[in-house]
Every structure is written in structure tokens, then in C-alpha cells.
């Protein structure tokens, strides 16, 4: 009962990997256990929670619903490890998540980050309602989503500033908002 292995080539975060996998190997398991890219997390293995979201040719996809051999038919995969810029500077959505306290345990976070990074490419300036809708396919058990929605909009701001003037300019033009608290302190 030895399984047949298939040699595949996956381009992940700009690097081409050659790996031998059985046909049933999930892309999520291949990324995590064959390539050691453990930033992509698995929360349900039935495509509902979105923790395993990666960008496949720029589009958010659930890596637990895709076989590694199928993923090899695509050009390019981006995981959370590949979101940062060439100099290691964090992606606007990574900065926004930290600024807005949009994560607590951090387990679902990579799925949200890749989802939002992909979303902002097509929707650079979402309203609050659109931002909420955009993240409404991923589960988070810690945050209650409010700060994630804020982070989508903050990421859009940072990204726009970056597109106009590069990361340095972005920091100048979109200074971090004062961390806010709802209501006053008594």
C-alpha cells in the first residue's frame, strides 16, 4: 500500500520549490509541512473558517480545499510570509492589524491578512460596510471583528499613501491614529 508520488513545482512567495507529494496532499499541508511555511494555519479543513487563505495568482483561495498537485497548475502562490515588501518592510495590512489591535491569539490572522491584501488590490478604498463585507467569510473567535474592520480601512489608507509616495512617504502622510478608546474614562 505505498502511495504514488507526484513531483510538482510550486512558486511560493517568488521562490520555486520542487516537491514530491501524493495526489491527496492538501495545499495547506504541503505549504506547512513540506515547505515549512507554517504561517498558513488550518482551522477547520472544510473550507469554512478561512484561516488557511493564501493568494493563488493574486486571488484569495482556501488552501485546505485545494490539492497541492492542483495548485501546481497555477503561476504563483503568496502566503503570509510573502506579504512583506522586498526589503522586509511590512505590508500595509500587517501594519494596520498591529495599529488597530485587530488580532489577539493570531491564529486566524494570516488568513485575514492574505484575504485583505488580495481584496485591497481590487478595492483600494472600501467604506466601513464594504470592509465588513469583505472579511465576512473568515472566522475569528477573539476580536469580535470590530478592530479587523477598522484595520481594513486603515490598511487601505496606508496602501494608498504607499502607492503615491513609497513606504517612507506613507508613514509621513498617514500618521498612526492615536489609539482610541470608545467613550471616555471615568
Amino acid at each position: 500500500m505505498t502511495e504514488e508520488l507526484h513531483e510538482i513545482r510550486l512558486r511560493v512567495n517568488g521562490i520555486v520549490h520542487t516537491v514530491s507529494v501524493p495526489a491527496r496532499r492538501l495545499l495547506s499541508d504541503c505549504l506547512r509541512h513540506d515547505l515549512g511555511l507554517t504561517g498558513t494555519h488550518v482551522g477547520c479543513e472544510h473550507g469554512v473558517c478561512g484561516a488557511c487563505t493564501v493568494l493563488v495568482d493574486g486571488r484569495p483561495m482556501r488552501s485546505c480545499l485545494m490539492f497541492a498537485v492542483s495548485a501546481a497548475q497555477h503561476e504563483d502562490i503568496t502566503t503570509v510570509e510573502g506579504l512583506a515588501g522586498p526589503g522586509g518592510e511590512p505590508h500595509p495590512v500587517q501594519r494596520a492589524f498591529a495599529e488597530c489591535h485587530a488580532l489577539q491569539c493570531g491564529f486566524c490572522t494570516p488568513g485575514f491578512l492574505t484575504l485583505i491584501a488580495g481584496y485591497l488590490e481590487d478595492n483600494p478604498d472600501p467604506s466601513e460596510e464594504e470592509a465588513r463585507e469583505a472579511v465576512s467569510g473568515n472566522l475569528c473567535r477573539c476580536t469580535g471583528y470590530q478592530n479587523i474592520v477598522s484595520a481594513v480601512q486603515r490598511a487601505a489608507e496606508l496602501r494608498t499613501a504607499e502607492v503615491v509616495g513609497g513606504p517612507a512617504r506613507a508613514a509621513e502622510e498617514a500618521p498612526a491614529p492615536q489609539p482610541h478608546s470608545e467613550g471616555g474614562h471615568q
Binding site: V48, G106, R141, E182, G183, G184
Partner: protein, 811 residues
């Protein structure tokens, strides 16, 4: 420091790794480990006749299969009953692998170890277990009837029974001018962290053997002691390291899980690294749930709405086993009282076995049920008397000048239920102001004119937080000036690394960037209890603060010696010890660390300065003074006298769809008092997450068992965990009533958000619909059917409520 870090909305230090894929969760570790998988019972109640593993043996990659018969010594005994209590009549706990009987779907029957998880599951599905199917017992009514018995050798299904009384409640109710009776019910939900459970074990057979165990747990030291006992190891042979944990919410305080002893046991048997990562279906059926209770409330009250006597009977579903004792129903019984003084009080619970997943604390830990009982009662009293619901609460709350207030009972930590501080009248004022309680009737009329149905509700709670016995803090300054901090309890997303660093930065005078915090690692702190009951900031925060103060004294003493100054004239600013008023006279903290540890050998420029010929020596004193230890570190432990009591109130405005019966939350307001805030951003994050789970438990989530004990919705497709589209925006106002019981004046904040949500939402739906809501959660179809029953006259109407509060003195 020029600005105080305690109380500041500092960004989290955890986030750099967690936003870049740099976190290390349990399944991210052990890339070379073998995988374990479990054969689990498909039946709710059965006797195992035979286990046939033959077909599994030719699976490529199979390493071992274990059943109960392979276990010996303590491993063959039932798992421990962690928290014994005199009320427990017959405390049953599971075996690591089922011995003869299984008592819930998902109970582990056999363990497979294989090259990887794929191979392990191939083997699992080829193992055939022959079961004699026995009767399932689902729901507290069936359990109480005792026509069918869950456990062999028991005459009924009562695991525990407790009556607690303060005064003579039946007599007080009998003599009261008004009485009411309510039958209430709350269904099961569960913690459901995004990361399930997981265990990874490495056995080192050298020198008598040693175990390194990684577990996705809420207690490192608890797991260490439990596993050591089962594997007959000394504590010194076991290290438990808790990596990043993807949420816990109470579930992961249970220990040891069957898998948590089987994985290290097999790692030793095989002398191989083994890892088990729970999958989502396993999590639903084989971890733990909470909340399921039926309550009967009898209350007597005067014409002003003041409660004279309260008698509550609780049927509590504890599932198949009782590994965590009766903490949940005890918490319900005691925290039901909330911010009120009910006169005489009697509470009785029966904790019942059913053939379903075990019930152990889930965020709130019995409080949501207690608050549901009390707050539904408050609303019923108001309606009975034609009074405003806020007025009735105001008539019953404890006043600030009555603090500390002794409720006359023992709390879940076995210590007196004495509220330390709080301002409940102010809390009520704040929540009614925040939600606009007095303007609501106007809004309701406007909505009604548009054909819309809206309602408002509120609920209050008091939460005992920060129980002992203790936590420790260890703070060490390296010669580089970097500060290493350790505490024993674990983190599941609360931001302890940030909050504890704020405490150290504030007390020691060093920048946050120089501080590194470790939690949940027995190599760094061997004495600890764990993370539960909203105790992290209170216990570890206090311990770290005390250790830092101790360390600071040592810093100042050594620096004063070197600077020939008085310690009282020194201050520490940005990691530099200096003479107040003449900052040029001073030294870096790292230099103080060098001076604190006299050396024989030089390793670098810094250590050369501490060697024996490096400077003037006092030949009358040994290099390390008596009563001192080398190195710049401080350890201290905080052991609270008793819990500190946080409080809060939630108010909700809902709209119910006249056609579809969907409930939409229009506003969700929170007033929250957890004493002094270490970091308001983190506290608000905790409130947001708690409210989300509260809304989930009120409107969406339930564990749908059929009569045969099958969990029908054991997946994220079927269990309705809310997305961003279901959770409302939350408005928060903070009240800060410091605790007098700990050096930081803090109270716990972790669970608060979830506690009053079901009560507040039930009140708002009731207000919108005009008939009583006594069961939660409530789905659109249930509300639809309630409307039909109401229309047929089967459910009493709620009387039209007064448009305005009477402005009483109390309020």
C-alpha cells in the same frame, strides 16, 4: 519615565511575529515528529466487545496501535478529578483510552501512531470496534428522570448536589407581598478556539529519561504535574512548554486530556517524537462544552421591587464525566447574585451526567446562566409592579458605602464571597446614559410609525476575578541591559507579553523595547496555576510588579554603592540609573547587572569589568554580600486574599423583523469596570471578543444533540459561529473602581464581555415582541413559533412598560 506606561494604549509586542507568519503554534512545531490519530466512539453509550486492528497493520507508515489493554499502572487508572468538592456524590472521569464502556460520541478508544497524519488516519479507519449499543441519555430532564443510567454502578445520574442558603429564603418568599416563579433554560455552546487542542512530546532516554512536552494548554505547570503523575516521572524530569496558543476561552484549562497523557506515554514507549493535532470534528465531539442549564426561580419582593427572598433550583448538564468538578454550577450559584443584595437566598443545584461531551468552564464559566436567571427575574419584577426595569435594579443594588460587601457564601475558590469594591449605582447611570434609556420610548414610537419593531434591554453582572492560590513573576536584567520577564501562566491572545512589559517598564524605568516576556514555560517558572477566571493581570500582573519592585531595590543598592550615593537619591530613567537632578552621574542598568555578578573569568568587555582584579575590593566583605545572591534578578509571588470583583452592565437595542423574525442588533452598549486599566486597548479587545461570544450564544450557537447522543452540527458548516456580518459594533464606557486587594488595583477583564449578553438580548427581544423570553439562544424560527404561541394565548404578554423611570434617589 516621562509618561506612565501603566494605563497607556500601547501597541502589542506580540503582533510582529503573529502578523508575519512567525508565530509558533503547536502544529507548527515538530516537523519531524510522527503523527498520532485516535479511533473514537461513534456511539453515545456503548460497551466495547472487541477491537480488531488486523486490517490496519499493513498500512504503509504505521508504527503502533494502542488500546486500553496496553496501559499499565497509573495510565490504566481513570484520569484525575481535578477539583474535588464535598458536593460530589459520584465523580466519574474517563480513562486515557476507553476501558470497557464509552459514554459519549468522540471518546478515544484506540490510538494510532504513524509516519504522518494521513497514514495514521488510514489506519484509524481500518480498525474495527465491535460495540454493544446502550441507551443514550441526552438533556437534563432525561438525566433527572433516571430511567436510563449513564454510568455503571450508579442508581441515578446525579454527579453532585449542593444546597447553599443565606437566611431563610422560603420563609421570606412566603411572607413577601409579591411572588413570582420563572422557568428558564440556556442551551449548550462551547469555547471553540480557532486552534484546537494539540500535544507534541519528545522523550530523551539519556540519564534516567526526560520529557519535553508542548501542549496547547492554559496551564503549563498543571499539565506537567498531571503527566508526571500518570507517567510515574519526577517533576524534574518533565518540562512543559506552551507555544503560541490559538485561543482557549476556558476549554484548555482542562488537563490532562486523554490525548495529553497518551502522546507522551507513547513517545516514551517508542522513543520517538510524536505529535497530535486535533481536527475540527474532534474538537466538536471530544473536547468540552458549556452553558446547558434549566433553572426554576422563585422570588418574593416588596412593592418597591426590593427582593426579600430568592430561591433558585438549577439542573446542570455536566456531560459524560466530571474531570473539572462542579466549578461551573458553583459559579452560577454564587455569581447569580450580581450587584444585588437579595435578602434571603437559597440555591440548589443537581449536576447531572448525560452521554454527551464533557462540560467544563467556557468564558464566563457559569456566570452567563446565573446572570440570565437574576436579570430575567429583575425584569419580571418590574413588569409585575409596572415599574421601570432600571428602577427595580437601582432598588436592589449594593451601594458603594456598603463595600466591602459580604454575600455570606463561599465562592468557587473556597473563600468568602466578599465584594471588594464597585460603584453599581454609577454603573447603572452610565449604562442608561450611554444607551439613551430615557429617550427610547420616543424612538420606539418613531420606529412603530415606520412599521418597525424595536426593543431595549439591559443586564448587570458582578464577576469574581483573579482567584489564587498564586502566580509568580521573575524579572532579570542582563548585562546588555535587556530585561527578561517570566511568569508561569499561559497566554491565548490576551496580550500578556505587552501588559506585563508595561508593568515592568513602568516600575523599573526601562523602555518597552528592552523587555522580553515569557509565559507558560516550566523551564522559566516552575510555580504557577494557570490562565482562567480572568486572573492573568491580577495575579501575574501583581507578581511581576512585586518582583520588579524587589529588583529595583537591588539595582538602586548596587548602583548607590558604585556611585557613592544614597539609594533614595537615585532614579531610573530609560534604562539608566542616575542621581536625581544630576543625570550625568549615573550608569546603565546593564552595568549594574555586571557589578551584581562578581566574576573570575572575562568573556567580553562587560564581564572584564566584573572580574576579581578589575577594581578596588573591600577585603572585609566577601565578593557577594551575605543575604545576597549574584545576578540582577528578582522573583516574587502574589497570593490574593480572595477574588477581586469586577462588574459591568450591558444595554442592547434590537429590531425584530415582523415577517422573518430575524433579530438584528442596532446598538450594543457596555459599561465595564475592571479597576485600573493596564492597557485600555487590550481591555476593549477583550470586551469586544467577549460580547461577540455573548451574541453568538444568544442568537446563533447551540450544540444540537439528537436523542441518540449524536452531535448533529459538529462542523463550522452547521454550527453557526458568527462572522463579521453578525457581530455588532460595540460602544464602551469605562468605570475604574480600583481593587484594594492587589498592588496594581486591577480586576480581571477576560470574561466580562460574554457574561450578561444572553440576558440583555433576551430582555431586548422581549421588549420588542411584548411577550416573555425564557429560553436562550433564540433563533428566527423559534421566535416565529413563539409569536404563534403568543397569538394563540399560550404565552402571557409583557405589560406595556412605563415610558419613563421614576427618578429615585438611588439612581
Amino acid at each position: 519615565m516621562s509618561t506612565r506606561l501603566l494605563g497607556a494604549p500601547v501597541q502589542r509586542t506580540e503582533d510582529r511575529r503573529l502578523t508575519t507568519g512567525g508565530g509558533s503554534f503547536l502544529d507548527d512545531l515538530g516537523s519531524d515528529a510522527c503523527a498520532a490519530a485516535f479511533v473514537r466512539s461513534p456511539h453515545a453509550h456503548a460497551r466495547i466487545r472487541d477491537i480488531d486492528v488486523m486490517d490496519a497493520l499493513d498500512v504503509d507508515g504505521l508504527i503502533a496501535v494502542y488500546t486500553y489493554d496496553d496501559l499499565t499502572g497509573p495510565m490504566a487508572e481513570p484520569l484525575p478529578l481535578l477539583i474535588p468538592h464535598p458536593s460530589i456524590i459520584d465523580g466519574r472521569t474517563p480513562y486515557a483510552l476507553a476501558r470497557e464502556y464509552v459514554h459519549h460520541v468522540g471518546e478515544p478508544v484506540a490510538m494510532v501512531v504513524a509516519r504522518d497524519r494521513y497514514a495514521a488516519e488510514d489506519a484509524v479507519e481500518r480498525i474495527r470496534v465491535d460495540y454493544e449499543i446502550l441507551d443514550a441519555v441526552v438533556g437534563v430532564e432525561k438525566a433527572m428522570q433516571a430511567d436510563r443510567i449513564v454510568h455503571e454502578g450508579m442508581a441515578d445520574n446525579v454527579a453532585a448536589h449542593l444546597v447553599q442558603e443565606v437566611g431563610d429564603a422560603p420563609a421570606a418568599i412566603g411572607a413577601a407581598p409579591n411572588t413570582l416563579e420563572l422557568d428558564l433554560e440556556i442551551e449548550r455552546s462551547a469555547s471553540i478556539p480557532m486552534e484546537g487542542r494539540g500535544v507534541y512530546a519528545r522523550w530523551d532516554s539519556a540519564r534516567g529519561g526526560g520529557l519535553r512536552l508542548y501542549s496547547s494548554t492554559q496551564t503549563a505547570t498543571g499539565v506537567r504535574a498531571a503527566v508526571a503523575a500518570k507517567l510515574e516521572l519526577q517533576l524534574g524530569q518533565v518540562e512543559v512548554v506552551v507555544p503560541d496558543v490559538g485561543g482557549g476561552f476556558g476549554l484548555k484549562i482542562v488537563h490532562p486530556w486523554p490525548e495529553e497523557v497518551m502522546v507522551p506515554w507513547a513517545a516514551r514507549q517508542l522513543d520517538r517524537e510524536i505529535k497530535w493535532t486535533e481536527d475540527r470534528r474532534e474538537h466538536f465531539v471530544a473536547s468540552a462544552h458549556e452553558r446547558g442549564q434549566q433553572q426554576r426561580v422563585r422570588v418574593g419582593f416588596d412593592d418597591g421591587g426590593r427582593i426579600l427572598g430568592l430561591d433558585v433550583q438549577i439542573l446542570h448538564d455536566n456531560g459524560a464525566y466530571l474531570p473539572y468538578g462542579v466549578i461551573v454550577p458553583i459559579v452560577t450559584s454564587t455569581q447569580l447574585l450580581g450587584p444585588y443584595k437579595p435578602g434571603a437566598y437559597r440555591v440548589e443545584f443537581h449536576s447531572l451526567y448525560t452521554t454527551t461531551a464533557i462540560v467544563t468552564p467556557y468564558r464566563g464559566a457559569g456566570r452567563p446562566q446565573g446572570v440570565f436567571a437574576m436579570e430575567r427575574t429583575m425584569d419580571a419584577i418590574a413588569d409585575h409592579l409596572g415599574k421601570d426595569r432600571v428602577d427595580v435594579r437601582a432598588a436592589n443594588v449594593i451601594k458603594p458605602d456598603e463595600m466591602p460587601y459580604d454575600q455570606g457564601m463561599l465562592f468557587q475558590d473556597g473563600r468568602p464571597l466578599i465584594y471588594d469594591s464597585g460603584d453599581y449605582p454609577k454603573m447603572l447611570r452610565m449604562i442608561t446614559d450611554l444607551v439613551g434609556w430615557d429617550d427610547f420610548e420616543e424612538y420606539r414610537e418613531q420606529a412603530r410609525a415606520q412599521g418597525r419593531r424595536v426593543g431595549i434591554g439591559l443586564a448587570c453582572y458582578v464577576e469574581g476575578t483573579g482567584p489564587g492560590p498564586y502566580e509568580g513573576g521573575h524579572v532579570q536584567v542582563e548585562t546588555s541591559g535587556k530585561v527578561r520577564v517570566a511568569t508561569g501562566l499561559t497566554s491565548q491572545g490576551q496580550g500578556h507579553e505587552t501588559a506585563l512589559a508595561q508593568v515592568v517598564a513602568d516600575k523599573l524605568g526601562v523602555p518597552m523595547s528592552d523587555i522580553e516576556v515569557t509565559t507558560g514555560d516550566t523551564r522559566r517558572m516552575g510555580y504557577s496555576v494557570g490562565t482562567f477566571a480572568s486572573r492573568g493581570a491580577v495575579t501575574s500582573g501583581s507578581a511581576v510588579a512585586m518582583a520588579t519592585v524587589r529588583l529595583r531595590d537591588k539595582v538602586l543598592k548596587i548602583a548607590a554603592d558604585a556611585l557613592e550615593a544614597d539609594p533614595g537619591d537615585l532614579e531610573i530613567i530609560d534604562g539608566r540609573v542616575q542621581v536625581k537632578g544630576s543625570p550625568a552621574q549615573g550608569m546603565e542598568l546593564g552595568t549594574v547587572a555586571v557589578l551584581s555578578n562578581p566574576l573570575r573569568y572575562a568573556f567580553d568587555a562587560a564581564s572584564a569589568a566584573a572580574t576579581q582584579f578589575s577594581g578596588a575590593a573591600d577585603y572585609d566583605r566577601p565578593p557577594v554580600p551575605e543575604d545576597e545572591a549574584p545576578g540582577l534578578e528578582g522573583t516574587d509571588f502574589y497570593s490574593p486574599l480572595r477574588c477581586t470583583f469586577a462588574s459591568g452592565a450591558h444595554a442592547v437595542i434590537v429590531e425584530t423583523d415582523p415577517a422573518t423574525a430575524e433579530v438584528r442588533i442596532l446598538r450594543y452598549c457596555v459599561v465595564h469596570d475592571c479597576g485600573n486599566l493596564i492597557n485600555p486597548t487590550l481591555v476593549e479587545g477583550q470586551v469586544h471578543g467577549g460580547v461577540a461570544q455573548g451574541v453568538a450564544g444568544a442568537l446563533y450557537e447551540r450544540m444540537a444533540y439528537d436523542e441518540g447522543g449524536q452531535l448533529l452540527n459538529a462542523s463550522f458548516m452547521d454550527f453557526l459561529m458568527p462572522y463579521a456580518s453578525e457581530v455588532p459594533r460595540i460602544e464602551i464606557d469605562h468605570l475604574e473602581t480600583p481593587s484594594p486587594l492587589n498592588p496594581l488595583g486591577v480586576k480581571g477583564a477576560g470574561e466580562a464581555g460574554v457574561i450578561p449578553a444572553s440576558a440583555a438580548i433576551a430582555a431586548a427581544v422581549e421588549d420588542a415582541e411584548g411577550f416573555r423570553i425564557d429560553q436562550m439562544p433564540i433563533s428566527p424560527s423559534e421566535l416565529f413559533h413563539l409569536r404563534r404561541r403568543h397569538a394563540r394565548g399560550e404565552i402571557a404578554s409583557v405589560p406595556r412598560r412605563p415610558a419613563h423611570r421614576s427618578l429615585t434617589k438611588e439612581n
